[in-house]
Symmetry: C14
């Protein structure tokens, strides 16, 4: 249970929890936005172009918070500066 | 309880929790979007094409957050860089 | 309490928790979608074909998140790479 | 507190928690679907056939997530590969 | 605190928690379904036969998830394969 | 803190928690069903017979989940196979 | 901290928690039923006899879940088979 | 930290938590019942006698669950059979 | 960390938590009752006497659960039988 | 970490948590009562005297539960019988 | 980790948590009261004087619970009797 | 891990948690008040002056609870009497 | 695990949790305010100037609580007085 | 498990949790704002320009809280002053 093992363990656990936790909010938020978009279309079919455009911009904004989590998760798995340091030190 | 065992344990646990946790949000969000799509169709049957198209785009966006979790879970099980390192080291 | 025992324990626990946790979201989401489909049918009986078709596509999408969890759970029980490694090592 | 005891303990605990946790979501989801089916019937008695048919398909889908949990629970009790391995090893 | 004691303890605790946890969802789901059935009857007294029949099918489906929990709880108390193994081993 | 003490402790604790936890769901579910029955009677006084009959069947179904918990709780207190085994062993 | 002390401690703690936890559900459920009964009376004063009768039956059913908890709590305090056993053994 | 101290500690803690936890449900339930009684009176002033009578019966039922908790709390403080036993034993 | 210190500590902690926890329910319940009383007065100013009288009876009932908690808290601080026993014993 | 230190620590922690926890319920309850009073005034400006009077009585009742918590918190800080005892003993 | 250090630590932690926890309830309660005051003004602009006056009295009552928490927090930081005692003792 | 280190650690942790926790309530309360102010303006544009004035007074009151938390957090970081004492003692 | 390491660890953890926790409230509060502003504009397009101005003032107030958290988080990372002290001491 | 390892571990864990936690609030808040924008457009298609502009300003404000979390997360991974210090010290 040296530094290499500990930092490896924590990196694995954090990578999973970050994206697991970070998927809840965006999924619920997008679900709400999509649901309301469909309700708005049913109410004003003539505005479906404007509604679709606004919906896509909004989804992109919401998705961005999920992307942040995914990016951090990928960094922790494949470009982890702490892991690189301890591996380099262990191999030196 | 050496590094190999610890990183293996954490990888197993994280792989499961990531997808288990990450399935809650998307499932609820998609449920809401589908429910509203059906309500919209009942209200405006003539717009069912536009509604269906928007619904599918929305479901794809929401599903993407579940896919992120599944991808991380699969990486942890079958392409885990930390596990590969400790296995290589243990076998060396 | 060697590596073999620890990885076995965690695999058992994770397999169960993954599907136990992963069943909550899809079940609630599908319940909502089905409930709304029935309400939509009562409101627009003439559209029951379109509603049924959209419902089935939606249920398939939602069910997919439960399937992800079931797949990970089955992999952990019957095709667990970490378990295979420690068993092979213990038997070597 | 050797491997045999630990894997046995965890298997017992996980078998119960999996189905205990996995029963909450489906029961609530089915309750919602049935409740809405009854409301829909009261609103459109002439459509009771279509409603009943859709309800049964929906309940089957929701029940499937409970079945996944029950299957994993049964596997853990009666066809547990980890337990079989440690028993065979202890008996060898 | 040998294997026999540990597996006995966990079996007792899991048997209770499984049914205690597993009773919450079905009870709430059935309460909702029954409540809606009564409201539907008050709205459409002429359809009370169809409503009652659908209600009973629905309650049976919901009750099934409670039954799963009860079955696992009974198996853990009276036909527990792990307990049988350690007792046989202790008695051998 | 031998097996006898541990299994006794866990049995006491589980017996109480099982029924304590298992009383929440049924009480809330029955409260909802009774409340709706009273509302239905106020809306359709002429159907009070049908409503009462359906209510009683529904309450019996919901109460059954509380009964499961009570049965498990009583088994743990007065017909506990694990306790009987350790007492017999301690007395032998 | 022998068996006698441990089983005594757990019995005291469980007796309190059982009834403390078990009072939440029934109290909320009865509150809901009584509130709806009063609303129903205000809506249909002529049916106050039927409403009162149904309310009392319903309250009795809901109270029964609180009674189960109280019974288990009293058994744990004054007729606890585990405590009787360890006292008899300690006194022997 | 002998048996006397442990059972005393647990008795003190349980006595407080039992009534602290047990006061939440009844207080919320009674608040709901009283609130609805006032609304019913404002809607049907002529029925205030029937409403008041039903309210008092209902409050008595709800209060009974708080009384159970208070009784258990008082028993634990002033007529605790486990404490009496260890005191008698310590004094013997 | 002898018995005297432990029982003192637990008594202090329990006295505070009992009233801290026990104040939440009554405060919310009373807030609801008072709010509804004001709404009822605004709807039926002529009934303000009956409403006020019923409100006060109801508040007294709800306050009683807070009083139970306060009484137990005061007993634990100033008339604690367990503390009296250990002090007498320590002083003997 | 003798008795003096332990009882001091617990008294400090409990004094803060008691009032911190005890402020949540009353603040929310009073917020609801005040909000409804303002709504009632807007609906029936002529009754603002009766409403104000009832509001003040109600706020006093709700505030009383916060006062109980504050009193217990002050007793624990400045008139703590357990602290006085251990200080007197330490100083003797 | 002597008494001085422990009581200092707990005082710091409690001072922060008391006000941190105690700010949630009042902020939400005041938010509700202010929101309703604005709604009432929009509905009855002529009563804005009475509404404002009642709002300020209500806000003062709600703020008082936050003030209690702030007072306890300040006492713990700057006039802590337990800290004064241990400092005096350490310095003696 | 002497007193200096412990009090430093706890001060850092508490400073962050106090403001982190204390920001939730005010932010939600202000969000509600602002939202209702906007709704009120849309309903009664002529009263926008009175509404704005009342809103600002209300926001100031709600913000005050966040300020209390920020003040305590700053005191813990930059004018911490416990830290000053241990630093002076360590430097003496 | 000397003072330097401990204070460094806690500072890192607190810096992240403070802003992570402190972002939830403001984000939800601002979401509500913006949503209501859009609803108000749709209802009273002529008042969009007043609404926009009030919205911006409100957002600034709500954002301020997030800013407090960000400021504390930055202080902990880059101007931490406790870290500076232990670094200076370690370097002396 | 020296300072280098501990600070590395905590930095990894905090970086993930900060963004994982910090993504929930903004995603939900943005989802609400976008949903309401779509509803507002359907109600007042002529105001879609004003609505879109206000929506974008609001989304930017809400996104800012997610950005704060992302910034802190990036600082912890790539410009962590505590890590830099311990690395420099370890390398010296």
């Amino acid at each position: 249970m040296d530094n290499l093992g500990l930092i490896g363990m924590i990196s694995v656990a954090t990578a999973g929890i970050t994206i697991g936790l970070g998927a809840i909010g965006p999924a619920l938020g997008e679900g709400r936005a999509v649901a309301q978009a469909l309700a708005a279309m049913a109410q004003q079919p003539d505005e479906s172009n404007t509604i679709t455009r606004t919906l896509f911009v909004g989804l992109a904004m919401i998705e961005s918070t999920a992307i942040y989590c995914f990016v951090v998760s990928m960094i922790l798995l494949f470009a982890n500066p702490f892991w690189d340091y301890v591996v380099k030190k262990a191999g030196g």
